[in-house]
Symmetry: C6
Subunit: 98 residues, 6 copies
């Protein structure tokens, strides 16, 4: 599972993401977190992110609405960071326990 | 074969799964089990889950109705857990015997 | 090449297979054998299975009618077992001789 | 590059191949040779087979007419064998020289 | 992540790229930088390139508008070089820090 | 990156290539060079081939016009050989320098 944090994403980056998801750019967010992995990992990560405070979670789709190629987590810098940390920790716990 | 257990799945997680399968969210389930692997593994896992008590089994589809990218097992926490354990055990037995 | 044997397949398992092939469920079969591998392996396996006694052979298709993602062998328990054994033996012979 | 030789292919095998290529079954052939590999390998193999005597060569297509997933070589047993040997030898020569 | 620099790209190269992106050839650019990798890497690289001076950034698409198979960075030789160096450095930093 | 040289390509080989590209067979060429690799490698190779003397360069497409699965270089034997050598050398230089 690959995880990236983009600080103050540029216009083009926001466009690339919004063209491929339900994400609509209204205000430029402080940060975007990205998670790429197996479908099962991204659904689990999505559930963890959804339970974090202050972020919005989007599934970035590939060549078809039903695809799911990337998870995008949008919010302020600190909140996105916490969501990504929760994903990293949750991922480890789950691998260990289940 | 990857196996994950999501406790009390969030709205967004349920939406991601139901948008890609015949699963309709009526009551928020206690847990969702996910299984991802080769098609042949997921069909075998699906058969084992189907024979477990108290769970519903769905094939999550990718870019096309005929695809099959993930198995979702919906039910109460304990019942989903048992289904996942049966899959894990069944998978081992089958690899050994057949 | 992966080979699996499902004894007394459940309704859901039969539905998953028949939704993706020309297989029509009339009577619940005693067993289903599944073979997944490279296209060239599955065509060879299909030819061996076709020459076995008492089984029906179907190509399970993925996202498109021309795809071929899995071989399904339907019949009674003993007959499906023999077909799978012939495939395993034939596969070895062919690798060795050709 | 995988190479297989099917002696006296069955009806179902011929159907699977002809459904995915321009090959039309008129008389049951003595043998079918199959070659699966990278596109560049299959085009080279196709050229070698085309220059062999007494065989017909078809590109088996996957999910789309432009795809090319398998090479089928149809003819009498001995002629198909020679074509496959030429492919194996030609492939080695080319790897060595070019 | 693969990175290439093409000096004074030819007509055919420009056509191949513009046929698969929103890039419109008006003046022949001094150089084109290409970046190929995982989706998450290319989005991060795109954000870094976008923040470089004097270059334009395009997502080259594959078989479908929503796909993203290659990042193209168009501009003068020195400016494209700097953008590619920033991507390489940024990629390392991100891997290290996040 | 795989590179192959086909001397005096047969009718079927030319058909397979022209069905999947803009290449129109008018006179049977002396040779066809083929290059298969990552998209980024094939675009770089295409640019080098385009700058070689006396050859025509085509992108062979897969299941969709925007795809690019193989590079075909058409011309006389010696000219195609030189183009392939330039690609091999250019590829090495680029890997080393950039």
């Amino acid at each position: 599972m690959d995880i990236r944090l983009i600080k103050a994403p540029g216009e083009n980056t926001l466009r690339i993401i919004s063209e491929r998801s339900k994400y609509k750019i209204e205000n430029k967010p402080g940060a975007i977190g990205l998670v790429q992995g197996k479908l099962i990992e991204m659904i689990s990560a999505s559930d963890i992110a959804e339970k974090s405070v202050g972020v919005e979670v989007f599934d970035v789709r590939g060549s078809c609405p039903q695809n799911f190629v990337l998870l995008a987590i949008v919010g302020d810098m600190e909140e996105v960071k916490v969501a990504l940390e929760n994903i990293r920790a949750g991922g480890d716990l789950r691998n260990g326990n289940c």
